[in-house]
Amino acid sequence: MTEVQTIEQLGAAAQAQGHVLGGGTLLMRQVNYTPHQVPNILRITDPAFRQITRAGRQISIGAGVSMAQIIASSDLDFLAPAARAIGGPAIRSMATVGGNLFAPHPYGDFAVALLALGAQVQWADGRTEDIEAFLASRETSKGVVAAVLIEPPQMDALRFGKVTRTKPKGVSVMSIAVLITGVGRSVQQARVAFGAMGPAPMRSKAAEHALAGATLDATGVAAACAACVSDLAPVNDALASAWYRREVAPIHLRRLLLGEN
């Protein structure tokens, strides 16, 4: 039987052992069907876990903040498209930012947007870690994520797109987030992140490199779109084969970059 431990302070949670409960949309499946895999649940009741706070340019999003809270926050309108892409309304009332960071393939659409933004992951013991490093080692990492820290991008600099096979909602064939800095249609720098194209959300540095200095038109983005595939490691699943995902990734990146979606 699963034990539930209530942790009233995030600091105390850092020492506790067990599965952290976010919104439970993934963890409770395990509790319902394979409870022996979840002997101990840590339920964090510290209000800071569910708060969005702003200090200067930095915004801290508590790991227990739900997708519905993101959509409702006027400070986070640039993240609303990614939050809206997750499940139906009931899932969004429950699913948390922290849980999305750990969500296995093909989930993790919100983490893709955070990866493009270059978020920092803040652990309950006070450590912070770059999201890219966090995602690369999340399978083996232990501890409680307290918050993610971001700086809001320039207006319209973050673009997010999700490709699904069922409408109006479905899980990702892939999701893509791109952060562009530049003036008008000329790109200075870009961060390009893909979801459902590898074991965890990943960047395409080849596409980023090709976009630096490019113009956002069909010719200007062609090299980046062709290059993105070299960094991706998709798998076959019930939604799409790895081959299909590779074939269509350049097309979906181009649509996102040129606003053709």
Partner: protein
């Protein structure tokens, strides 16, 4: 292992139950609180048959830990029509043949209530989005979407075809 006491408001009534720590709220409501209106379809978040409102927001009760519902304000289909008259959503579902086998209906009604409480004049697309987490294997969805739009119109005093 000792059971844990949990108290919450269920359809306006103060309710107290004892639950195993890992029990989900759907089982707790059905087995311990005696409210059989939320349905079990999958126990993994995919069907929406167990949708209830917690503090006015739609939640999947099968994925909610019962002990986390302490002090919550819970609404289920069982409380939609406290008197003899059906709730406008229930009436519109009945009139529009929006329930066939009826297994999805409880969750559909609560997902629709969450929408209409927040947005009394939804568009068709907004209704489709509101029930996008709820599966129906009988109706083909159109009668359900029509019924929700019809209920919204009835509450507003607007006439529908």
């Amino acid at each position: 292992m000792p059971k844990t006491p949990v108290t919450f408001t269920l359809n306006g009534a103060e309710t107290g139950i004892f639950v195993d720590p890992g029990l989900n709220l759907l089982e707790a409501l059905r087995r311990e609180a005696g409210d059989l209106s939320p349905k079990f379809g999958c126990g993994q978040g995919t069907c929406g048959a167990c949708t209830i409102l917690i503090n006015g927001e739609p939640h999947l009760s099968c994925l909610t830990l019962a002990v986390a519902a302490q002090d919550a304000d819970i609404s289920t289909t069982g409380g939609l029509a406290p008197g003899a008259d059906l709730h406008p959503l229930q009436q519109a579902f009945a009139d529009g043949f929006a329930a066939q086998c009826g297994f999805c209906t409880s969750g559909m009604l609560m997902a629709a209530k969450a929408l209409l409480d927040r947005n009394p004049r939804p568009t068709r697309d907004e209704v489709v989005e509101a029930i996008s987490g709820n599966l129906c294997r009988c109706t083909g969805y159109d009668p359900i979407v029509d019924a929700i739009l019809d209920a919204a119109a009835r509450v507003q005093g607007r006439v529908t075809a």
